[in-house]
Symmetry: C2
Subunit: 337 residues, 2 copies
Amino acid sequence: MTQITAITLKAPIEGLPTPEDFVEMARPAPDLPEGGFLARTLCFSVDPGTRSRLSAGASYAFPLKPGEVIDGFAVAEVIETRSPHFAVGQTVAMGGGWADHQVFGGRGYVQLIRDEGIPLSAWIGVLGIPGMTSWFGLHRVGQVKAGDTVLISSAAGPVGATAGQLARKAGAARVVGIAGGPVKCAWLVEHAGFDAVVDYKTTSDLDAALRDACPKGVDVLFDNVGNAMIDRCLPLMRRGGRIVVSGQVADYNTAPEDRPGLKNTAYFIAQRLKMEGLVVFDDMREFTKAQAAMAGWIKDGSLIYREERFEGLRAAPGAFSTLFTDGSFGRRIIHLT
Amino acid sequence: MTQITAITLKAPIEGLPTPEDFVEMARPAPDLPEGGFLARTLCFSVDPGTRSRLSAGASYAFPLKPGEVIDGFAVAEVIETRSPHFAVGQTVAMGGGWADHQVFGGRGYVQLIRDEGIPLSAWIGVLGIPGMTSWFGLHRVGQVKAGDTVLISSAAGPVGATAGQLARKAGAARVVGIAGGPVKCAWLVEHAGFDAVVDYKTTSDLDAALRDACPKGVDVLFDNVGNAMIDRCLPLMRRGGRIVVSGQVADYNTAPEDRPGLKNTAYFIAQRLKMEGLVVFDDMREFTKAQAAMAGWIKDGSLIYREERFEGLRAAPGAFSTLFTDGSFGRRIIHLT
């Protein structure tokens, strides 16, 4: 019987996570239900959004219980199957966890990887949930159109960097990022085609810098940070502007009552703003169309992405915890092979 | 030459307005431009939304300058015209001000009143901007549909009471109001057809009362109050819920930095919420269609409304100022005839 080695939570976390909040456990693989499969992990991701499930009792999420495997997306090879759709030897991208094997129970996000012309880890990055979040956040929620100014926070992260490039492809007149540190900012302008990037770590007057970077205002704010960032950007929004609530990484570690609040809401009426939250699984039926377009652009070099590579299951807790202190520069992928 | 007597602002207001913030002035009517007309006021409204223009230098509104006539909507009879569309003797509803005569300069909101079967003041109330705000807030922004639970704050006000009745006509399964005091609450349930009303003045645990009143959650929150109300209701929102930012009367008297903030924004992602601000003038081309439907319902008694009647120009500052302390129970109309 296959043994599964996985990372689980010791106890619900308050505040910033640390590697000590996690523990490795081994257990036998469960019996597969009809429609399920077992797969050997090739690589998996650590995701800042997972943080929202690691606190106790937040009513709006489903907190993970100690002992449950931590969420992550995985690329894995099917080694045992009871599904007519997934055969032994096939490679899948799927919702899974921090473990050396992935169990698919018959429901949830899973997709066969058919296009082998692209590195496998891309299917849990630029072609996976982050990239799909960029696409559907920008198109379905943000309703981006030619001539728009698009402002993207956490622009060097996997969602932001892709969103900026997709905005350009959609005809945005100006694509502006907010990122931390000269390396990320330079990469966004020199390689990812952003028109301007504001370095929030070194800019003395962030509000003025954002105004200067967006002289005509902002049509689409694609926010991956949280309340304080949105509140800061609301005065820049143009008539009919759209705010994509894609992620709230700055707020996940804070109890709701201690979070900064949105105060500049008068702009919602004055400028007819629309703000909408996004969970990209709602768009799952449309993924393949977006992935086909994006895979073409990856191959022709017009859509680029970065990954931070970590080796071995035990690297996951550290790679995850430092997301909230150092930030990431590209998708963090744990490789097991 | 016609003299115009009008109410103007003494100086920009901080905090709650009082009648002493206003002053009466007389001046000669200006020369009419091509396309303009002069009309004798029959009645005009005092509107809480006007408050946002009475502070100094709020960048999102256009502050009124001392000496300018205070905004209000007016029903008036044309007495002098240079417009091919408006003849002497015709009655109009228009954006105007607190004055005994209204000047139309050729641009802005004005509409001929053709249906004389309804009290004239209704054209600046239930068939005017408040009623249009109810209609387009509910339909265009709120996307109300059959089976929805609709929660309306400031439900006994002119926008809220109409919105609740229109929600019912749109097939809402449950229409819930928030209002202050037993008289308003009883009227909403007994006369305006609300299923339940929470009295925010007497309810000891408002959160619990709202949960009890909306056992299945809320699909459309039609908010006329402001940040604290929206923040309180966010945990009640159902998947895909819509938040109509129709008015922010509780926040108009407070500097932006001192306003309560929206903190429960995690629900935007968790429940895929959409929040949008509304300025109903954007829908002006569609007014007549909505007015025709609503006029029919007023005549058959299935759409009711209330007005609070004040007599004479000098009643306006008091009628306006007490909006923010007593609240209104129906549209406040100043009658000059």
